[in-house]
Amino acid sequence: MDKIEQNLLEQIADLHEVPQGAYNIRANGETAGRSTTENIDIVTKADKPGIDIIIKAGTKKESVHIPVLLSQTGHQEMVYNDFFVGEDADVVIVAGCGIHNGGDEESRHDGIHAFHLAPGARVRYVEKHYGSGNGNGRRVMNPTTVLDLAQNAYMEMETTQIKGVTSTKRDTRATLAAGATLIIKEKLMTHGEQVAETDFVIDLNGEDASAHVVSRSVAKDTSRQVFRSCVNGNSRCTAHTECDAIIMDDACVSAIPEVTANHLDASLIHEAAIGKIAGEQLIKLMTLGLSEKEAEEQIVSGFLK
């Protein structure tokens, strides 16, 4: 693995070397490393690009890292990864994609991650997207995440894109059975002429299913963001979605919420707030001795922390 790839790995997975436990590193379309454990198996798909990650029932305190690195300009791929998480397993899954594009051709990673959580399974899923490189080639990532939560399953998804991705369309679809819980935290920053679209469709099908989605984003320069969320309460359930955006310069942010209650006891809330940094926040930090620019940086980094 070269310096560029190491840097990408550090950015997306906080990894300085190969991780502990199970992992699969994909670099420019090839498997650059793989490790399995007694409880976690990783198998290459036979019919299409991608892997199956099979986590045995009852697996506790284990983690899986599956970073994807693209450093060849013009490399484009479509990858299918399936996660089968057994009953009552409790694991951390760290995914993420880093693109370094030093050339002029478009580099692109489209990933479809499907999670199948058996009853009682618990997953913390961390996904980071990052782009770098001085080339004129676009850096494109379109992650699709499909979440299927069986009874009493629990999933926490943290998805972050802070820098360097020219264009992204993030699609997340979830279905929740009775007693299942889904928590999604999205953090997004766009700058330059970047475009980011986020779509959440959540179906709460089982009794007492609950979903909580928090999206915080900052749009700078002439970048554009669209946040769509569609929550369907199909039984007695609760859902809360929240989209909070800071807009700067000549950027544009749209928040399009949709909540549908198909059941009398579905309780669904959506909150959306878009606005520039409040003048009084800047003034407060300036009275502490920060310049206006430093104050702005503090406010933005705190907001996306």
């Binding site: 915080r216 909070d244 409040a278 009084e280 926040q281 003034i283 407060k284 930090l285 300036m286 009275t287 502490l288 001795g289 920060l290 310049s291 206006e292 503090q298 406010i299 980094s301 705190g302 907001f303 996306l304 922390k305």
Partner: protein, 242 residues
Amino acid sequence: MLELKNITYTVENEQGRSLDILRDINLTVDERFVAITGPNGGGKSTLAKVIAGIITPTSGQILLDGEDITTCSITERAQKGISFAFQQPVRFKGLTVKDLITLAAGRDISISEACNFLSEVGLCAREYINREINASLSGGELKRIEIAMILARGTKLSIFDEPEAGIDLWSFNNLIRVFENMHEKLGGSILIISHQERILNIADRVIVVADGRIRTEGSREEILPDLLADGVSPCAVLTEKL
């Protein structure tokens, strides 16, 4: 030492007529504890904002230790040693109490140092240090964090705009103690805008600002009885207590 020379601040109202908010204010602050009082809308908060650099006066001059700071920005004044506690503290999504205390101190401070400032204002440090400065904090809690930030800065001039506003009675007793302590600890001058008799009572000098002018000033012994006598008492509560 802070000096204000002939400070005026004039704005245009909706009808296009000019309105004097501050009229020819001349003021020197070199005592340890100076209180400004006076009726609502009299120009007290505007005066504090003029000193902190948030409002630019229409005319006049501001000097800090002899240096003309009239054209200095908010940041420059902060760096030269002026602190300002807002009447209505600002909320920040994401920034924690520790973050703001650290920014106020202007250097990396240890958790225990940050906790000391919080304990000083009567907040259980362990409970608050990692809290976000968001809507989950009450007005009274925010006011105390605001004061803790001023303590962390420890500058030569600390301005407080109605620190008692929004603080409940129980906390108010503690607040008085905080200011009494601060009087001892902070090396510099404290300039405090207040309607509260008990705060005015610990001031070295009391200045009454009304209708954009300094109506009167002097020691608390000279000013407080007069406030009642001439009917320009700062607030009804004070009138009753006096």
